[in-house]
């Protein structure tokens, strides 16, 4: 089980910290009568009159799940291969920059805006730069992790075009690859003091049949501070155990079939256990928003995964442990999902 626990260490680190150590009142920001930051006050503006996007932001979890039919077949094949490897070559798990990866819009960032340059710096100690000095995109920029970005204002919307990405990054943690011809268009809108929305579109005919994208909502994290979250252990250290398969009698497997549900990460989660061709299968409903790529079956959220037996009651799937709790009458009462952060118990519903 070492392998899937190792995978989860990284995910735990990557999760935005629920509590930041700092409780620091920012000077000079609009506040409501009770002294709290007024997140619906007007958006601040720079000396040039344009909205100033500067601040510390926390991006909501991103769901960027392209329809497989919108991807070129080689991209789908590669995504399936990555899934089989527990996505261990995901750049983020390798302690490499995430580049344009959709899910990395989530979490903590600081934006610094000057009239000619905008920097977006992330808690994993990577940064990107958007040139707003009027230049146009380079014709043939050298491929890089973070790409070459040029921004212009259209009213109060900042439109950013980026090219020049290397092909070492993914555009989604579900293992969706891209080519060096990837073009990213982003539309940044700071609607008010506390809210920013980014619309992102990926265009890459060599990899995607048609452009696709997603939206991210970002919330100003006023009165606190962004902390570092550095990747120190690359997934090279993950070991996938190839133990001799444990076999579990068919009548025991049949007893585990059922629907289990409970709360994980503040969200309701249902785990559907079925039997198919003599193999136990598991499907997690409501997981896509939470897990770091292990969560569900990659691109297809409805796919079930085989539960590989590790003992008579302990199974593995999605890089997680699943332990069936059996009472003294031999009846299965609960299913425990084992994460590095601890076990989560889901009572049986039927």
């Amino acid at each position: 089980m070492r392998s899937f626990l190792a995978a989860l260490v990284l995910i735990a680190v990557a999760t935005p910290a629920a509590a930041q150590w700092l409780d620091r009142k920012w000077p000079g920001i609009p506040r409501t009568a009770d002294g709290k930051p007024n997140l619906t006050a007007p958006a601040p503006r720079g000396p040039d009159g344009k909205p100033d996007l500067s601040g510390v932001w926390d991006g909501e979890n991103v769901v960027a799940r392209p329809n497989p039919s919108d991807l070129q077949p080689w991209v789908v094949d590669l995504a399936h291969k990555y899934q089989q490897e527990y996505f261990r070559t995901r750049p983020y798990y390798q302690c490499r920059p995430s580049g344009p990866e959709a899910e990395r819009y989530a979490g903590w960032k600081r934006v610094l805006q000057t009239p000619t340059t905008i920097a977006i710096i992330s808690d994993d100690l990577t940064s990107r730069v958007i040139h707003t000095d009027g230049r146009t995109l380079e014709k043939d920029p050298p491929p890089s992790y973070m790409g070459y970005s040029v921004g212009r204002w259209e009213g109060d919307t900042l439109i950013v075009d980026s090219e020049g990405f290397n092909d070492k990054t993914w555009v989604s943690r579900y293992g969706v690859s891209h080519t060096e011809a990837l073009h990213v268009t982003e539309r940044f809108r700071r609607a008010d003091f506390g809210h920013m929305q980014i619309d992102v579109t990926f265009t890459d005919p060599g990899a995607f049949v048609k452009p696709w994208g997603f939206k991210v909502n970002m919330l100003l994290k006023a009165d606190t501070e962004m902390l570092e979250a550095i990747c120190e252990y690359s997934s090279d250290n993950w070991t996938v155990t190839k133990d001799t398969p444990v076999s579990v009698p068919a009548d025991v497997l049949a007893r585990y079939v059922g629907v289990y549900s409970g709360i994980y990460g503040g969200n309701k989660r249902t785990i559907d256990v079925t039997l198919s061709g003599g193999q136990l299968m598991v499907k997690i409903v409501g997981a896509a928003d939470i897990e770091g790529g292990l969560g569900t079956a990659g691109l297809d959220p409805d796919a079930a995964q085989p539960l590989v037996p590790r003992s008579q009651t302990l199974f593995e799937a999605f890089g997680l442990g699943f332990e069936f709790i059996v009472n003294d009458k031999g009846v299965v009462t609960d299913l425990v999902e084992i994460h590095i952060s601890g076990p989560y118990k889901f009572p049986r519903q039927r």
Binding site: W26, L112, T114, I121, L125, M146
Partner: protein
């Protein structure tokens, strides 16, 4: 010899690229009659009237003169161990952030200055932030790679105090470490358009008896653009130690060693370099001057690999001998190629 070549791949990777792909004219900067940026033009100033440090900057590796007598004994032991390992654990060789390491004041960076914060972005994609909103240093910040920095203006000098470092980083590429109690003070001055000077002082009594300082100088990298230099291969794959090399069993007769003693001069990249070869206790030592910008130390014991080829802490040294057996030149063997230094005396 694989090891020292491997070491040099990384060093080459962290060196400022001598040619940038981009030849892009920056708009709106003062220029001389010949169209070149006027580095002597007045310092740009921000809305508060204070100097604006924003721009793309590049600079050489600062010279670090650290007296071993100023290090606490445990720190000298740590440094000795790191030399033995060819500095394999240096954070930047491990693809980890360099934190306050002096040598990282060199190379490419981009500075963005806003009224409330300054960001310094490095070409390895790491960055640090200096808070300018008037806050005080935290009393007990959580230890981090880049530390917690607060800046204030004293006239036209930006004074930055930093605290809250973890103890995983080094203060120099030569292996000097620090404790979590490290405090860094920087004084930044931009006297004109094209130049930036930083005076840096490290204070960490548990590791160093007295504070120690160095100066970093940067030049505006105008009309070009900073490129990424991302560490992709960690030094975990490096193999071997200085002790392994010493035990390789090649011996060179003392009279041959004596013929190599001398002073060799030449250019390495664009810097003048002098290599003085000394004999001490029956062993050859290379003393390198003008090298701080390039490799990891001034005094390198030369361990024989053959009668003319020696290894000096990750770099190859080959003596070129005439038909009388006298050395006429010394070649330094780097992954980027060989550099020849002619014998002066």
């Amino acid at each position: 010899m694989r090891l020292f070549l491997a070491a040099l791949v990384l060093i080459a990777g962290t060196m400022p690229a001598s040619a940038q792909w981009l030849d892009r004219r920056w708009p709106d900067i003062p220029r001389n009659a010949d169209g070149k940026p006027s580095f002597a033009a007045p310092t740009p100033r921000g809305s508060g009237g204070k100097p604006d440090l924003s721009g793309v900057w590049n600079g050489p590796v600062p010279e670090l003169l650290l007296d071993p007598a100023n290090a606490q004994p445990w720190m000298n032991e740590v440094v000795g161990q790191r030399v033995q390992e060819y500095w394999k654990k240096r954070p930047s060789y491990q693809c980890l952030p360099s934190g306050p390491e002096a040598d990282r004041f060199a190379g490419w960076k981009r500075i963005l200055q806003t009224p409330t914060a300054i960001a310094i972005l490095n070409d390895d994609l790491t960055y640090r932030v200096i808070f300018m909103d008037g806050r005080e240093l935290e009393a007990n910040p959580p230890p981090s790679w880049m530390g917690y920095s607060v800046g204030r203006w004293d006239g036209d000098t930006l004074i930055v105090d930093s605290f809250g470092y973890n103890d995983k980083t080094w203060l120099s590429r030569y292996g000097q470490g620090h404790t979590e109690a490290l405090r860094v003070r920087e004084q930044w001055r931009r006297p004109d358009l094209g130049h930036l000077h930083v005076e840096v002082t490290f204070t960490d009594p548990a590791a160093y008896v007295k504070p120690w300082s160095f100066t970093a100088d940067m030049t505006l990298a105008a009309d070009t653009e900073m490129l990424e230099a991302v560490c992709e291969q960690t030094s975990d794959r490096w193999d071997g130690t200085a002790a392994d090399a010493a035990n390789s069993g090649v011996t060179v007769p003392p009279d041959v060693l004596a013929r190599y003693v001398g002073v060799y001069n030449g250019m390495y990249l664009t810097n003048k370099r002098t290599i003085e070869v000394l004999l001490s206790g029956g062993k050859l030592i290379a003393k390198i001057t003008g090298a701080a910008g390039v490799d990891g130390g001034e005094m390198r014991p030369l361990i024989p690999r053959s009668q003319t080829m020696f290894e000096g802490l990750g770099i190859g040294y080959r003596f070129i001998v005439n038909d009388k057996g006298d050395a006429t030149a010394l070649e330094e063997i780097h992954i980027s190629g060989d550099s020849r230094f002619a014998r002066q005396k």
